[in-house]
Symmetry: C2
Subunit: 483 residues, 2 copies
């Protein structure tokens, strides 16, 4: 990730011209993230990190409200522990960064930098859990994760990323399954409400399961270029990890049993999802709920504006702050009003508030919506309530627009020819019958690049014939080219 | 840290008997932290992490209120970059964990796991800062840090720990110095207000400076065993890092200049400081402002308590929550009231609230203060306000008690004999004249184990003669045996 395109980005490529370049230009020009001198690792700049902080707050609040608590486990995983769960190590070993020296000392055993924390957390749960009275354990961790990636992309796939990972242990299989689905529903509600990003929730196929899981569920969003983005996953780990790490407890009937565990996570890639769901040729478009600044105030810089206009702008700022709005008054005199207009448009601020001498005469301001580009002269009187209502409206509109886009890009394929034609044409979700075999799934992928994103709950047991082999379908699955 | 004392702690060693064992027993028995299977690394358990979250919130709020923003920089530092600032690499290289392999690939260049982030952040600042208009840059990061330690201790010194690290860049030397001192003052106010931990603020000697800094300042607290704990540091880095990493800007006069930078940090060791400042033979004593639960409600479990007492306990809980108190209603029927009393005492909850049938008759509850062990029958009417006031009182009392303890353990030594006698006797701070030479400082340390903690601002230019060599003193310094 280092040393390429390292100069300053002055203009952004139009989205309609080259989506991929547009994406990178927006991330860098809006100062969300930057390349670092470390291969594959990004720097999350303050404006991007402020979005992450809002995501953390919204998600953390929901996790705590459902009884989860936070903790912190070591960054390192001794190699011998990583090898205890066979599927898990097979899945993750190729992506592990290894520490082999500490200070002056060459280590006797290599330490993996956590590619995920089931192993280290499972080892601790085996110590902490003795009785059914100790269950459930509902722990979440906010942490950095390292997975050695060959091809990386800012926010979407980086060698190091930030995430939350939940790890729970339960008394029965039913409770573990209920937790897995509860989190999936929580993720869907969070992403749709806060990020205005509609998602499809369902189960992953065997081949796309988390390494070591009994069942993986995901939420899948559709980006502005018609490619899917996996936005979050929730895994039912069955007793696999409990058996590998010895998480046992004495049950109500005094028998010794293995616990049933789950794990689930969402990452900084969500920020990439926000950019690609809502952005346009003008740059970033942020949903108000995760916008670091929901309103930017730009005083019109004519004449002696610092004495004629600025005091009114300050009063407006204070009124909006009092109404609970995140607001920035851009009173810098080193930039023109016009420069500020395009700067804050590019950085996706939901509402721009203009105020000049004529507005002050009329006791009004002019609000400009980033999503629709409408300009709305608005009385200063009652401004706080009006802005709050408008921000809600923008949030709803972004969700509705994204959902409409997804619907316009979701098609049911009745035959293999149609499936291929759809995938070659305008990208999006294609719904098709699937026989349940790995072979058909693999052929579909190699012939069309489309992967089976998931099987939504209502789509199990439907679909007539498999779109690839014609045998009876076990479900209708959602396919797409994906990030 | 693995594999020793790995069983469950059932009782804690009295503090008066063995402070060090008491400390470890409290940390483990109160479920603040635990040993992990990784040498030198700890697990921060939910109860300990909840304290850290309260520390984060209080500190983050103060940093943002003073114009700082958060960001995130990579975990890895390429070896060639680490070597750019000579003093810095000399200071940190012996403590670095090295990644030498990523996935299947042996790395051409080793990657250090950040022992601190001046290097990676300085490299980015060199890209981002072009003009005086870009200054100041006021960035903070919440992150994990790895320093390979030979001897570790839960919270106080661990191979991996959590911290915040601020990194700022300024136009002038004066601004950088002002920032360095502003943060030192912010740290002192934070630690004294939130953790009720009185500290001495001052400058470090040359030998105790941060590797690569022009000047290091610290805040120093006194623990319950009379040993000092460095609770936070703030460094003026001068132009050292700007020159090593090329952080240059065009000044107001168009000349190209190097920026002036600072860095500063506080860590999870603060939790150890809280334990050792306020704890007693009964276990943990938490200051209300950082107590995960400020009040624990224990219903008296007599007769049919779940129908006679519990509904009143629930109402009391709801009233306290409405008053903004962090409260836990311990309604578990698997434990007795007596067990709960000693459990929550050990875990340091500032106020226990008992409620039984007789209290309900009298429309009262009984509050038990953890700090003084007083029992206070209190009317249910107006309980929220009373509890809030009591929590404030407990916070003030803990601070006053710790300050009084420090004062009783701070002595001025007029001669070397007296200095030695004081250090051999009851430990604490010893104030003494110092000539400013590394040699005297080193001799004092080797002969008494006491280190120069810092020179408070009012103590510069005082002190008559050096307590060690008798030459004229440049300052009175504060010495102590330290963690």
């Amino acid at each position: 990730m280092a040393d390429k395109n390292d100069g300053f980005v002055t203009e952004i490529t139009p989205r309609s011209e080259d989506f991929s370049r547009w994406y990178t230009d927006v991330v860098r020009r809006a100062e969300l993230a930057d390349y670092s001198p470390v291969k594959g690792c990004m720097v999350i700049r303050p404006y991007g990190y402020a979005i992450w902080e809002l995501i953390q707050q919204g998600l953390d609040r929901r996790l705590k409200a459902t009884g989860h608590v936070n903790a912190y486990f070591p960054l390192f995983v001794p190699e011998s522990l990583l090898r205890k769960e066979a599927d898990h190590v097979e899945g993750f070993a190729p992506q592990v960064a290894w520490v082999t020296q500490g200070g002056e000392e060459v280590l006797e055993e290599r330490l993996a930098i956590r590619p995920t924390s089931e192993v280290i957390i499972g080892t601790m749960y085996a110590k902490w859990i003795q009785s059914w009275r100790d269950l459930p354990v509902l722990i979440n961790q906010w942490a950095n994760i390292v997975r050695w990636e060959k091809v990386t992309r800012l926010f979407l796939r980086t060698t190091e990323f930030l995430w939350q990972e939940g790890h729970t242990a339960h008394e029965t299989a039913e409770e573990a399954q209920a937790e897995t689905l509860k989190i999936l529903a929580l993720y869907k509600e969070f992403v749709e409400t806060e990020l205005a990003m509609p998602v499809i929730d369902g189960r992953k196929s065997e081949s796309e399961k988390f390494a070591g899981a009994s069942m993986t569920y995901s939420i899948e969003a559709l980006m502005g270029d018609g490619r899917a983005l996996q936005a979050g996953t929730s895994h039912n780990l069955g007793q696999n990890f409990a058996k590998a790490f010895g998480i046992q407890f004495q049950g109500r009937d005094k028998s010794v049993q293995h616990a049933w565990t789950t794990s689930w996570g969402m990452t900084t890639r969500l920020i990439g999802g926000v950019i690609m769901t809502h952005g346009d040729d003008g740059g970033l478009v942020l949903p108000p709920r995760v916008a670091p600044y929901q309103v930017v105030i730009v005083p019109i810089q004519r004449g002696d504006w610092q004495t004629t206009v600025l005091p009114s702008a300050v009063r407006v700022r204070d009124a909006l702050v009092a109404a609970g709005v995140r607001v920035y008054l851009d009173d810098r005199d080193t930039y023109t009003s016009g420069w500020k207009f395009s700067e804050w448009e590019l950085r996706g601020v939901p509402l721009r508030l203009e105020i000049g001498p004529k507005d002050i005469e009329k006791s009004q301001v002019v609000l400009a919506r980033r999503d629709t580009r409408e300009k709305l002269p608005t009385p200063v009187d009652g401004l706080g309530a009006r802005v709050t209502a408008l921000l809600d409206e923008i949030q709803q509109n972004l969700y509705a627009r994204a959902r409409e886009f997804r619907e316009s890009r979701t098609t049911r394929a009745e035959s293999w020819d149609e499936f291929v034609r759809l995938m070659e044409g305008r990208p999006g979700f294609v719904i098709a019958g699937w026989c349940g075999s790995d072979a058909c799934e693999a052929e579909i992928k190699s012939e069309t690049q489309a992967t089976l994103r998931n099987i939504p709950f209502g789509y199990e047991g439907k679909g007539g014939a498999c779109v690839k082999c014609g045998r009876p379908a076990v479900a209708e699955a959602w396919f797409a080219k994906a990030y």
